[in-house]
Symmetry: C2
Subunit: 387 residues, 2 copies
DNA sequence: TTATGTATCGGTAACGTTTGCGAACACGTT
DNA sequence: AACGTGTTCGCAAACGTTACCGATACATAA
């Protein structure tokens, strides 16, 4: 039945076991082992096929290098051939294959960004800013969202690494205490810029708002409006923004000779849930505070809701200041006094910084920290007189 | 000085012009033209180098195919060699190169999503939902944001095409009237799922909220609460969601025998700016409406602010209902009645649908439309009795 | 002529993976 | 020692692009 693939004879063939489930044959004459190759699945080849440079080249009878050059305005190409190639490219609806391009150039023109969440306005705004300047520099942005989970954050960064992003923008989750997944970028000479959620130790490039000055201004404002027992509902203590906002709070108190009472400082984790618990605790104290400076707006809003439920009048009995100027802040009650952060600008600054690093500027310079000013926005929740 | 690269003789060599700025030589004996090759930039090779399969293979003295198979649990590999390879992979901190992988498999395991904006909560929520189910199926999500601009939308889709995404999720900008950039995906057999912002004509897979029912419920609710002259601040007329919400508005009026007054229906474009202009127009009419059903919450909120400025009491003199249940809606005034959309579920449904398409299920089935129910959330802005 | 230069184009080795199929052994059985 | 059967591994071709060199065919200057 079956002829030998070498000598073609049938009589000298015999079965010789199995390889990967396929019958193996042995020809006694040739002393040659072989299995029957799978019938090529034809028509599957031409199934899902994006037109490539080779298609254009073959259609026109030129080499693919000529096509590649023509598509990139290389001077070595005759204007006529160039035109023919460009026309053919349009005719065949050619779209360049970024994957192959990136593979040979070992550059993807993509930078990754990982943010903890999407549910407040902050990070989307940062992304809009970053995307604007990156697009202009012909870079793509690969957006990842960790959901405040260390585990997904690691998975995210691994995916970005596998996709060979040229750079990384990071605002880390509040769970994150191990930074190896970030350091593995720097180990590969892939520039990393941290923004907003940064930690003290990592000696690298950062973009942050001036949390200290913002917090200081907020608490000073409370003091100047006659509040005397000012509490602070803080963020996760490992994050620099928490530390800086706490420091601003403390310095403002110190400046005006107010005592620093440890019982009036509680660290939360940015969530409304914890804010509820700790806010409750504060308001239920024997000597409750007459003002609360919250680490962010969701926390402050929770406090406002709590006060409303308890019949505590805002701002007469309790002054409240938040942080980040969420769009909700305008509409809530008589308005929530808060510290406005330059969200979009943070994104823009981070993007510009990483573009500079990619261009090799400040290659061996010391890590740069860009601080953008935050602005106190005074509304109804902190003006005793207007109450 | 310089010997011929062919015969090695020095005496028969002479200069022969320049090629690309480099000196060309000519050997009279060999009649051979040549230029001196550039000295290989060494040490640049080892500069930015990610460890590859080949590195592992060479370190261990095996072939790269063996390494590849070991990393993928291929049965043909001896457990000992497999272990050695896995250990070495960890030692060298090997991270697979997705680009090369995708190139040979012609599958990126990435699906793209393009949304019009990031500034309301809606799309971030959808993305969270989509990302959740995609990650579980080991797919990555590439997020693009058109900023409501047709031009960037086209650029976005082109970038996704260049990056060879396996599928596309789209909610189009309100500027979009030409759909060629989407059709070019389908032409390449890349599945596309439209969500939320879809248009009637495109006969493809869609995921939408039940805008009609939601709008109907909203307007019916207004009618049952005694409002009689109900206006509608609509969206861009080319989008299906605008059409459906308008239809719900009209059908509800018709059911209760209210007249359909064309002067009470105005089409906006989702922006607060237009909402302000058109809202002003409505409230300044000789016979102003006593209720407004807005196409989305930002529009409704703008109306509320307008009414407050004019001293119009909510809900006694003017009932207002929005659409989408923005987080602000709870906090604004006495609360904004609105229609809550299943945002996260929309993302999940769209992702599941496209995963099914990628698996080749319903390959030749008729385009599927998934409709998720929307729910009326009644708050203070529309309850006359409670006013 | 001879020497020198320009304008265009092709060949080919990379980039890092995957995969079909053959090769080289290592065992038993006869 | 030949035969029969498995196991384990290497070779090499693809995937689509880029870029370094050469190789022509001419043109021009000495």
């Amino acid at each position: 039945m079956i002829p030998c693939v070498k000598c073609g004879r049938v009589e000298s063939l015999m079965k010789a076991g199995f390889v990967r489930g396929k019958q193996r044959f042995f020809c006694k004459d040739c002393t040659y082992y072989f299995t029957l190759p799978n019938p090529k699945e034809r028509s599957e080849r031409r199934g899902r096929h994006q037109t490539t440079i080779i298609d254009i080249a073959q259609d026109l009878g030129v080499s693919n290098s000529t096509v590649s050059r023509a598509l990139h305005n290389h001077p070595d190409i005759n204007p006529n051939t160039r035109k023919a190639i460009l026309d053919k490219a349009i005719e065949l609806d050619y779209q360049p294959n970024q994957l192959a391009h990136s593979l040979v150039k070992s550059r993807t023109n993509t930078i990754g960004i990982v943010v903890p969440e999407f549910l407040t306005q902050f990070f989307p705004n940062v992304i809009v800013g970053a995307q604007r300047v990156l697009r202009q520099a012909d870079y793509n942005l690969m957006i990842m969202q960790s959901g405040e989970s260390y585990e997904t954050e690691v998975a995210n960064t691994k995916a970005l690494l596998a996709n060979r992003v040229d750079g990384l923008l990071v605002s880390m989750s509040h769970e994150t205490n191990n930074y190896d997944h970030f350091l593995s970028f720097e180990k590969r000479d892939i520039p990393v810029v941290y923004f907003n959620r940064v930690i003290e130790g990592l000696g690298t490039h950062k973009v942050v708002a001036n949390d200290y000055r913002g917090a200081f201004a907020a608490v000073e404002h409370l003091i100047l409006n006659g509040y005397r027992r000012i509490a602070h509902l803080g963020g996760p203590p490992n994050l620099l923004i928490s530390q800086e906002r706490l420091r601003g709070y403390q310095e403002a108190l110190r400046k005006y000779g107010h005592p620093l009472l440890p019982e009036l400082v509680i660290h939360g984790d940015f969530t409304a849930q914890k804010a509820l618990i700790y806010g409750q605790h504060l308001l239920d104290m024997a000597q409750p505070p007459d003002a609360i400076f919250a680490v962010n707006d969701p926390t402050a809003i929770e406090v406002l809701a709590l006060a409303k439920a308890k019949g505590i009048r805002i701002p007469e009995e309790l002054g409240v200041v938040g942080f980040s100027d969420d769009p909700i802040a305008v509409h809530i009650g008589k308005g929530l006094t808060t510290v406005k952060q330059p969200t979009t600008q943070i994104g823009e600054a981070a993007a510009k910084l990483i573009l500079g690093l990619l261009r090799g500027e400040q290659a061996n310079l010391s890590p740069q920290t860009i601080v953008l000013e935050a602005e106190l926005v005074v509304r109804g929740s902190s003006i005793k007189a207007a109450g």
